[in-house]
Symmetry: C2
């Protein structure tokens, strides 16, 4: 049978189940990546599991999130992660080395392999013909311990690209067009596979941009073929030996199809405060801008900075704008220097920051109250920037540079006339810089087993969670709407993230953006509680703290209209029951403090998909989509207690 790229990748790694969309399958995992915000928890999980050495082909721990070091907590975590990487046989990318996804692609990306990562943008590696999936930290810990990844077999969504991108329109606009058409849930349950003649124009780094923001579409993964563009890229990073061609068979079909004519695209922008609020830049033009930030995994390529530098070259950025440049990695920085681009950026008035995620994860770079910030980043959920009343827009480097020049949202196509600018097409070096010294190889086993974990005073062991009760009778503490993001369930940012290895402390921030009284009110519900929500509950980041925090405070079940994939997985991993409403209208009838009664929950979950609860005295029909494996896990109190014995 003719197979597409996604089907080939899945078939080659299938260890459990059958490739029937919607059913659970188990996939072998070749590579893992963890970043520091989620990685400390992963390392503590490996410690809880008693693992001696990772069983993947390759696992890498990056430090790219918590770089600000306003007190000892972040550097203590860095030291802990370095020691844990040494202990468990993991590569270690030091603080300031760069953003995980592009660094991983440059050093470890290999067509035909599987990668999972405890960061939702892990999917970026699909650019090189990998099946790359962002998951919760515990999934990664399990893969590092040699276990398969369990996911629902996705539908494969073929997106055919034809035509050529016009001047001033680039890869970011392609994925913004997908978001304009389909919003933040359009990719749920799907792998997006890009194909067609339009691919020829897109380099591996362009594809990285598009694959990265598959996360914003809610997709399980985004996949590109491993063709000449992948080979060109691997040659440019000095690893052509790692190339394997991987393209769809002739006549391969897709579960769903889509077509984008690249020639018809124009510069697009996501308005505050969702990546799904996409409009043409021309429609938003004129809005005053106080900050422009260039960087992050969503526009990480040398080209994405070089094009900004060439637009700003010989010009002064606008007096009212802070232009912040976050070079992706030491290697991109080295190439920006040698290409002369950094000099142009500095001369134009840009602030050059260290390499890392920074403002993308709310680590600094917060904008002023109520003032617009344009970013080449992937997300703009409310408050994610760190500012209370933020107004963050997402766009291409070209659109960002235009605003840096004019101080207003500006369609970059107008620069040709207003600034006498020809669309710059920067020439990339044949060979990118390699600065590998800060990427440390795993220790050999005999040295690794002697390493002691270095735990600062803020790093505590994982709390143990009890199995879920068979008869639940607990109050509703929150009733929420649609598209609640993990940023709202558990904020990131410099105030909260430093406590990521300290569950009792970080749990106090749970739902604080939605209802500041939540943590306090959980104390009055000694037998636990539930929360209710609308569609797409838990969209956004893969952070497990959005599950562990509320669980620590007594959350037993979430009842929602629908769930975002990674968060749903995380709920089951930590023993919180995810239940869906048969009738979305039932949500309207529920109030805070209603009593939820679920009797005989264990049998009900085991015996089928449907069950009935009483909420505030009314009978409400519910169902679940857990596999038998997941039911066992939830009822045991999560995956760690269930698995620890077998490792």
């Amino acid at each position: 049978m003719a197979r597409n790229v996604a089907q080939k990748l899945i078939a080659n790694h299938l260890v459990e189940g059958v490739m029937e969309p919607g059913t659970e399958i188990g996939l072998s995992v070749d590579q893992t990546l963890t970043q520091d915000a989620t990685g400390t928890m992963v390392m503590l999980e490996l410690e809880s599991l008693g693992l001696d050495r990772v069983r993947t082909e390759l696992s890498v721990q990056y430090v790219d999130h918590n770089l600000l070091q306003t007190d000892e907590k972040n550097p203590d975590d860095h030291a802990f992660l370095q020691s844990a990487a040494e202990r468990f046989g993991v590569w270690f990318s030091k603080a300031g080395n760069g953003v995980s996804h592009p660094v991983h692609q440059a050093h470890f990306g290999r067509p035909g392999t599987t990668l999972i990562g405890s960061d939702s943008h892990t999917c970026a590696a699909g650019a090189l013909g990998m099946l790359a999936v962002g998951v919760g930290g515990l999934e990664v810990a399990m893969a590092m311990a040699g276990q398969p990844l369990y996911v629902a077999m996705p539908q494969v969504w073929g997106v055919e690209l034809t035509g050529e991108l016009p001047d001033w329109v680039s890869a970011k606009d392609v994925v913004l067009e997908m978001l304009r058409r389909h919003g933040v849930t359009g990719g749920v349950g799907r792998v997006i596979e890009y194909h067609g003649p339009g691919l020829e124009q897109l380099t591996a780094m362009d594809r990285h941009v598009i694959a990265n923001m598959g996360a914003e579409l809610g997709a399980t993964a985004s996949v590109f073929p491993a063709d000449d563009a992948a080979l060109d890229y691997l040659e440019a990073v000095g690893r052509s030996k790692d190339f394997t061609r991987l393209v769809a068979d002739e006549g391969a079909e897709y579960d769903l199809t889509e077509h984008i004519d690249l020639s018809g695209l124009e510069p697009l922008i996501a308005m505050p405060s969702s990546p799904g609020n996409v409009v043409p830049v021309a429609e938003a033009a004129g809005e005053e801008v106080s900050q422009v930030v260039v960087g992050s995994s969503a526009n990480p390529g040398l080209r994405d900075f070089a094009v900004v530098a060439e637009i700003l070259q010989g010009r002064q950025s606008h007096s009212g704008v802070s232009v912040d440049i976050n070079p992706t990695s030491r290697e991109v920085l080295a190439d920006l220097i040698s290409g002369g681009w950094l000099t142009s950026l500095v001369a134009s008035g840009a602030r050059i920051h260290q390499s890392g995620c920074l403002g993308c994860i709310g680590m600094g770079q917060a904008p002023a109250t109520g003032r617009s910030s344009l970013r080449t980043m992937p997300r703009n959920f409310p408050g994610r920037s760190g500012s209370e009343e933020d107004s963050v827009w997402l766009c291409s480097p070209e659109t960002a540079a235009a605003a840096a020049l004019t101080g207003r949202i500006t369609d970059p196509r107008t620069l040709t006339e207003s600034h006498d600018l020809t669309y710059p097409r920067p020439t990339m070096p044949d060979r990118y810089s390699t600065v590998a010294g800060m990427l440390e190889e795993p220790l050999p086993p005999e040295e690794a087993e002697r390493v002691e974990l270095v735990k600062g005073p803020n790093i505590s062991t994982l709390p143990q969670f009890d199995p879920v009760e068979d008869d639940l009778s607990v109050p509703v503490l929150l009733v929420m709407g649609d598209d609640v993001s993990t940023d709202e369930i558990m904020p990131a940012g410099s105030r909260v993230l430093p406590f990521r290895s300290n569950i009792p402390k970080i749990s106090q921030f749970s739902f604080s953006r939605i209802d500041g009284s939540y943590a306090q009110r959980t104390k009055g519900a000694e037998h636990g509680h539930v929360v209710l929500a609308g569609e797409n509950y838990g969209q956004g980041s893969s952070r497990e703290h959005a599950v562990i925090g509320p669980r620590y405070l007594g959350l037993r079940a979430v009842i929602a209209v629908s769930f975002a994939r990674i968060h749903w997985q995380n709920l089951t991993n930590f023993g919180i029951v995810p239940l869906e409403l048969d009738d979305p209208e039932d949500l309207q009838a529920v109030s805070v403090d209603d009593e939820v009664v679920l009797e005989g929950l264990h049998d009900a979950l085991r015996s089928g998909r449907g069950l009935t609860a009483t909420i505030g005295g009314r009978e409400v029909g519910l169902h679940h989509t857990l596999s038998d494996r997941q039911v066992d896990m939830v009822l045991a109190g999560g995956r760690i207690p269930l698995t620890a014995q077998s490792i």
Copy 2:
């Protein structure tokens, strides 16, 4: 009469008093600088005073401290400062443009002029033959309003330099030698004037290093002659037209004298946690290091980064060390790029940060718990780094680079053998880069008067303070030891500084490093309170919040053995009475909660130097050193209420 450089500078600006050491003099002020941490308060003071336009030759507002932007407060302040600079006719140096002192020297330094700044390291400008004094923000506001600077006429301390610095020993070691000999109070009441044949070897930027850390010696100012080195420098920044030769007259004498043979110096280091704990690096060698930070106003010259780059060139920094580079300014960054040095630093594994003060003021770069951090910065008071249990050492760029290579404190002289290194002497460009675009000129008056101040939600107006009561009967809330720094009175760092424009909020942090219950306990003392301390009370930064915060909580008088100059001035400016113990032994007999009774305080202060208090029932002899002007000011509740009518 033959005059030294300091006497010439003072004589040329004397508008009140006579040049008799210890008596108060008034000096005209040519230039002022403010930075953002203290500048928001200065601008609010100008607003309170009703000033229309600054009356100095030149005033500059820098944004170099609060660059992290973890929420909206810092960027809101930046916007406020930009609007205030426009409103009052002040130059504005945008966030990320660079550290105030070296940027000021490059763009505005002019021999023979006076400069005051609301930053204790303003004294660095003495490198160019200026009389430059760090003072509280209110002093700067008054100077901007055209008033003289009042100081006690200092003694002039002539430090003769002879000989030549050996390899691996540089300017930082010269000032560390001064601190080794004299500690953190050795310069109190003095202007340090460097002279002698050893000067020939020291460039203007070397002199900047030495003059800068005059603040750590407690000196009123440090002064160098404006000789060929100053001319060379002004030529290199394209301003030779601003050169005036200013050297001591032949036969000029000094109130005190000192001699340093540069040839006899070796690499020195200040141990945790005071700039006065200086020992030879060789004595500390072997101590494990987890962080090396290069930057700040104490080692800001291109040369200071270039020498590190040349030591690290072609080598990898140690795996256990985070090497953090804070380029002083956009201009230094531009020169680091064009000289090839930035490439060497990146390749060696350094983290390149934005330009600004950063870790020097506890804005990020906090070290891990209990691990040693080596910094080319000027201060290492406990906790200033942001970490609870910090261990910060101060050293030259050479010593910092040696530790970056070896992971331990290392005498850089040993690198010749261990790393086959010849002492690098980087060649400086004839002309430094100029990136002036982010340094914005004052608006013309007709435009300036139309500017509205932009106040974010966290910027509040100044509270008004009552005059001091004539009969005080209030409790002692703290009894402290010697050398209490302003970092202990009012911490800086990313948690506290964002509230600098919000007195009710920031006051809650007063004395929190010394006694966490202080702010709470002030509530029980409704008629106010006093605190007692030992010698050199209020050393360190010039921050006025260390006075305004406690004053807001009811502090009426500080009784100490002795005071640091700037803080003493700040106390009087905000209506807190600074009193000195006749007998230091009396401090031992005082306990917290003792009642302090001061009757007829107004007359006592006006009629002479001495007065008597009853503390805990015992009679205690006190004295003050306030001028008549200052007595009026203190009794009126501070300088703002006293002055506002006359502006």
